[in-house]
């Protein structure tokens, strides 16, 4: 028995923040220069009362317009913005979606590699005959973690949810995975306060970065240079290892969909891997970096745009917070 991705959909919150709006809020910063580099011109963000669980529910309901939800027997929800410490958002999602009480459901706390990690679990559940049709949901609201005076991160990240169904099938269309972790990079992308070690601190000191972005330890901190450095050093090797593990060469891959971190980083990876830019998805101008949803959204868009076709072999690669990374080759 094999597994395959057959259904994908997503949901973006209604509220849009444009670069023009950000320029009004940050008159002293050159936003058009930043936008040209990172390739983001607007992004969707949640309202104060809207959570990642709300987005997850909406992306799943979009998916259920074409998929019979009664077939689902397992739910995996990838988020770093849960409604509660406990219970998991996946349990609440099961109830909201009206799924059978016989489904398994749990959360995965993972960021930009979360989709790949979710796929590893879904494939494992199917190959072990624990489940047949796994609903894999990615839902993230980093805007809630970002300080309103942190322009750099507000420029990059957008909120979104995506949902896919991994189904059992006759042939295996999800290849062998390469995954990895390097916790030494943990401090370079982190929300320090709010967990059990350091509780949320209403009096947390404001820190001003070299780029004049402001944040406290209650907010998301990202050392962009160190993250980019990790990607530049690690990901080309991950791509090579994924090809090796699947007994394939670059010429066998029809299309590459990497985590859409920012335009410059994706361009850099394409050059470094000596890949044809036409085989490389790079488009986040209207949604920004949506964390674990960038790959499924890009996959759906590349299929809709005719860039990826039935039978194509597509390499997916996610990387980021942790550090954490993962890659796989799927057949459409």
């Amino acid at each position: 028995m094999g597994s395959q991705i057959n259904f994908i959909d997503y949901y973006l919150p209604k509220k849009i923040v444009s670069n023009e709006e950000l320029q009004t809020q940050f008159p002293d910063r050159d936003i058009s220069k930043m936008a040209n580099k990172i390739g983001v011109y607007k992004r969707h963000v949640v309202d104060k009362e809207e959570t990642a669980l709300d987005l997850a529910e909406k992306s799943c309901n979009n998916l259920f317009k074409t998929y019979d939800k009664d077939k689902i027997d397992f739910v995996i929800l990838c988020t770093q913005s849960p409604d509660y410490y406990l219970p998991t958002s996946a349990c609440l999602l099961q109830q909201r979606l009206g799924l059978s009480k016989n489904v398994g459901a749990f959360d995965v706390n993972q960021g930009c590699s979360g989709f790949i990690y979710g796929l590893t679990i879904a494939k494992g559940l199917i190959s072990a005959s624990i489940a047949k049709n796994v609903l894999l949901v990615m839902s993230e609201t980093y805007s809630k973690h970002i300080n309103s005076s942190d322009l750099g991160n507000r420029m990059i990240f957008g909120d979104a949810s995506s949902a896919i169904v991994v189904e059992h099938g006759e042939s295996e269309k999800i290849g062998n995975f390469v995954i990895g972790t390097d916790g030494e990079g943990a401090d370079n992308l982190i929300v320090r306060n709010g967990g059990m070690k350091c509780r949320f601190d209403i009096n947390a000191e404001t820190i001003v970065s070299r780029n004049m972005d402001e944040q406290t330890n209650n907010d998301l901190y990202m050392n962009g240079s160190e993250i980019f450095y990790f990607v530049g050093k690690q990901i080309p090797q991950v791509v090579e290892n994924t090809l090796l593990k699947n007994n394939l060469a670059k010429k066998d891959i029809d299309y590459y969909i990497f985590h859409q971190a920012n335009e410059y980083m994706i361009d850099f990876l394409a050059k470094k891997l000596k890949l044809n830019k036409n085989q490389f998805y790079n488009n986040i101008e209207d949604i920004g970096n949506t964390v674990s949803s960038t790959i499924p959204i890009a996959l759906l868009r590349s299929i809709s745009e005719g860039l990826v076709k039935q039978g194509d072999k597509v390499m997916l690669c996610g990387f980021g917070v942790g550090y954490s990374w993962g890659a796989v080759i799927i057949e459409i």
Binding site: R210, S225, E226, Y229, K233, Y264, F268
Partner: protein, 91 residues
């Protein structure tokens, strides 16, 4: 060729490559006096660092880490070619 000369060659080659990619004229004809930091942003510094590290590994068969963004004064190492060569020579 002495070690520092080899490092200078690596740095200049990497700058020329970056100059072509980013269309920075000053880098395409880089020499020991070429100013670096004032012409590039943090992302280009990372690209340059990665390329220099790879060049260094090819020449000296040793891994180094040029980027050290944890150090608040790190960018001063990228003031110009000579400063960067001195910094790398001490790694």
């Amino acid at each position: 060729m002495e070690r520092k000369e080899k490092i200078k060659e690596i740095v200049i080659n990497s700058l020329k490559k970056l100059g072509k990619e980013e269309m920075i004229d000053g880098f395409i004809n880089a020499n020991k006096d070429t100013k670096i930091q004032e012409s590039v942003d943090s992302m280009a510094i990372v690209v340059l660092s990665v390329d220099i590290e790879e060049g260094y590994k090819d020449v000296f068969d040793k891994e180094i880490k040029v980027l050290n963004d944890q150090d608040p004064n790190f960018l001063t190492n990228f003031r110009d070619v000579s400063t960067l060569v001195e910094y790398i020579n001490k790694l």
